[in-house]
């Protein structure tokens, strides 16, 4: 295992309670934040090229919990939302554009890092119809004292890890082991290793 590598399980557990992203205090990206930002088409979540508006929108959404964030997204709040995004954009505008992109990208990447899965080649599976965030909420709302609200507000990476743990308990064998995950994360190194080795299965008397 390469030194310095951190497993997604450990990272999800050890996420800080608060981040400072471009001078804005935000909690770890929650299930709600991921759901909202994906639906808003935010470039940091859709992996397209982000601009200042994406960064401002990301920080605005992430600085609020589900209740306050939802209010902001109501149709009659469009003007206020725009004003707030502009205000947020002005707040971070003085910063270097590359720094903003790097800080926001690191925040999103870290908070959304979850274990990977294997898929059967040419399998018969189909893409899920229900967004993954709803699966997490469905699983966690009965298990958290705060119910649905607490499930939406829990850190996304933590919720995804809990969901995977539950899935494996129920027989899902597609989740990468820690060793395989490390190999995937360092694939550029591993894929270049030449040579073969043998596994021998030998029966004892």
């Amino acid at each position: 295992m390469k030194s310095g590598w951190i497993s997604p399980w450990w990272q999800a557990f050890a996420l800080p309670d608060e981040w400072d992203v471009c001078g804005v205090a935000v909690p770890p990206l929650s299930v709600w934040h991921v759901f909202a930002l994906c639906n808003l088409g935010n470039a940091y979540l859709t992996k397209s090229t982000p601009d200042l508006d994406d960064a401002a929108s990301l920080l605005l959404i992430c600085s609020k919990d589900m209740a306050k964030g939802k209010e902001l997204l109501l149709p009659n709040m469009a003007n206020k939302r725009c004003r707030n995004i502009i205000k947020m954009a002005k707040r971070i505008k003085g910063l270097d554009a590359e720094y903003i992109e790097r800080a926001c990208g690191e925040y999103v990447d870290t908070c959304t890092r979850t274990p990977s899965r294997f898929s059967k080649g040419g399998g018969t599976g189909h893409p899920p119809a229900v967004p993954f965030t709803w699966h997490i909420v469905m699983l966690m709302s009965d298990r958290l004292p705060g119910g649905l609200t607490a499930a939406w507000n829990m850190p996304y990476a933590y919720g995804a890890c809990l969901y995977d743990a539950y899935a494996e308990m129920k027989g899902d064998d597609s989740i990468l082991s820690t060793a395989a995950q490390e190999m995937e994360d360092n694939w550029e190194y591993y894929k270049g290793i030449k040579g073969t080795k043998q596994i021998e299965l030998v029966g004892s008397a």
Binding site: R117, G121, L176, A180, E184, K191, I199, E200, S204
Partner: protein, 118 residues
Amino acid sequence: MAADQKGTGSLTFGGQATQAAIHITVPANSIIESVTFNDGGAPQYEDVMDEDGAMHTRITFESSMDTATVVVIGAAYASEAGDVDGSSSNYYIESVSAEYSKGPRRTTITCTRIPTIA
């Protein structure tokens, strides 16, 4: 038992005096994720080095097992189901299946005892 045995293996007569090794060839960076036997026996792992310096992983199991399932992270060159590495082996490859991620590949190989006619 798979009915369509292929490769160099054959029915073994007169019991299993020889428990020859089953060889599964994998890339050097492969990781053995799990080895399970149908009789629940605990395998023993041992890393050994050949005369030519090549590393092997030897897994010793109790001879009572009928099937062994080896899961490795990496491609396994156990060739196709039914092929036996060496004609003296009492086991053959029952099935080989692969799963894929963005990087590594996971291969599951199931070995089955060749039926014995005493």
